[in-house]
Amino acid sequence: MFEYVRYFILRALRNMRQWPVLCSAAILTMAVALTTVATFFLVVINIQSLARTWSEEVQVVAYFQTPPAPTELAALVTQIEDLPEVKQALFVSKTEAFQRFAARLGDDAGLLEGVSHDLLPASLEIALQKTARNREGVARVVAALKKDRRFDELRFGQEWLERFEKFIELLKFVGLVLGSFFLFAALFIVSNTIKLTLYARRDELEIMALVGATKNFIQVPFLLEGALQGLFSGILALGFLSLSFQLLVKKSLQSFWLTPVDFNAVFLAGSQQLVLVLSGVLLGLLGSLFSLRKFVRL
């Protein structure tokens, strides 16, 4: 058994050394395909995490026609906070609203000179429970608030969140389609590259069969070679991906105007990196298997 394993490994390595150009072509092709798919995956997980950051800020703002009296307000706040979707309801008085606006204007706050402090309406800022920060949750809170005539207008960042969710879905779909396409292309190229090496070694295969080598004995070194090439391509892809993450994904996400300052783009987790490398191994194995099935016949 040990003799077989040793022989298979030595042969696989020897084959790779014997055909360096074909071997490098196979490794590079697989690495590029894996990097493309993984980059898409990385973009999707980062945009999803960005979306999560944004969704934490999803709240409903209810503007009053006229601000209620303090006792009435306390009852209203309790009533709203009793809704299961609501985490907290915070009253913002006209003056507070004006101050916030002035603060937001910063150096241009001078523009507000002579403007009445009760220009802006008082409001209730309703923060939602984590589980309710979605379309349904917002819709239920809005429906409850709409019944109350004291509110003049309701604002909620629902529409853009939905659009954004759709955008992520689209991105996932494009990633899946492009990824499958690239993986398929890689599989095709890998299997053809291996077919070329098999063709170059057809004498060897013929003689092996002649001296009584079993089908497995002939095939295993080639499968091992495919798997090894896949392993190298997986590791190479990880390198490429980390480069594209530093130079492309991270920078473009940070330069996006809606990205919060403290947002940290994430790289693949350890287990995901392992999956990437193992995908390379699988790709190499399948590529070899497809070509061997057509080539090695006893």
Binding site: E3, Y4, Y7, Q18, D203, E204, E206, I207, M208, A209, L210, V211, G212, A213, T214, K215, F217, L298
Partner: protein, 221 residues
């Protein structure tokens, strides 16, 4: 050892390579298979190591019907048969040692066993001093001796040689014949396909004569 019963091999309707051939070869025999080009000599030998299947008829080797053999059993049949070709069929990118070792490695033999047997086999054919050379650095006769060493290193029950001296001059042919005779003396059944009359005149043994795919002569001296 080898039994053929009404064996026919055809490649399509109009091309029949072997017709209704029946023959029996005993263990330890030395048999020449002769005939002009296209007589069916190579087809006959190819069927014995299961590279070709007969269209009709049965072939028994050592009691086993190889026409009914599953493809996964064929390698085990071939381990009992050494084959030598006119064009040597050596791996030119490998050394003499590796070419011979190949046959044992394919059978999963242990490393020390491989090196011991390869050295013995190469010594037997007089090439033990050329272990690390590549086949193309050697003469045609030496290349054929590597091929014979590869065939004999596995201690085969049967040695098949398809025109082994076809590319060699008379002197080298005699050297090669000497190796076949030695293998025969050790008990190996030898089948040697040739159209060289001088060979079986010089070393008279049983001759099977083929012509147009038919067995037309079975002569025992």
């Amino acid at each position: 050892m080898i039994q053929l019963f009404n064996v026919t091999k055809s490649y399509g309707r109009d091309s029949v390579a072997l017709r209704e051939m029946s023959v029996q070869i005993e263990k330890g025999e030395f048999v020449y298979v002769t005939g002009p080009s296209g007589a069916g000599k190579s087809t006959f030998l190819s069927m014995l190591y299961a590279a070709l299947k007969p269209t009709r008829g049965q072939i028994l080797i050592n009691g086993a019907n190889i026409t009914r053999m599953r493809s996964r059993q064929i390698p085990f049949l071939r381990r009992k048969i050494g084959v030598v070709f006119q064009d040597f069929k050596l791996l030119n990118s490998r050394s003499v040692y590796e070419n011979v070792a190949f046959a044992l490695e394919a059978q999963g033999k242990k490393r020390y066993e491989v090196s011991k047997k390869v050295y013995q086999a190469l010594k037997e054919v007089g090439l033990e001093h050329r272990l690390q050379r590549r086949p193309l650095e050697l003469s045609g006769g030496e290349q054929q001796r590597i091929a014979i060493a590869r065939a004999l290193v596995v201690d085969p029950l049967i040695l098949l040689a398809d025109e082994p001296s076809g590319n060699l001059d008379q002197e080298v042919t005699l050297e090669i014949m000497e190796l076949f005779k030695r293998a025969h003396a050790r008990g190996t059944t030898v089948l040697l396909a040739t159209h060289d009359h001088s060979l079986y005149q010089r070393f008279p043994k049983r001759v099977l004569g083929l012509e147009g795919g038919r067995l037309v002569m079975d002569h025992v001296p």
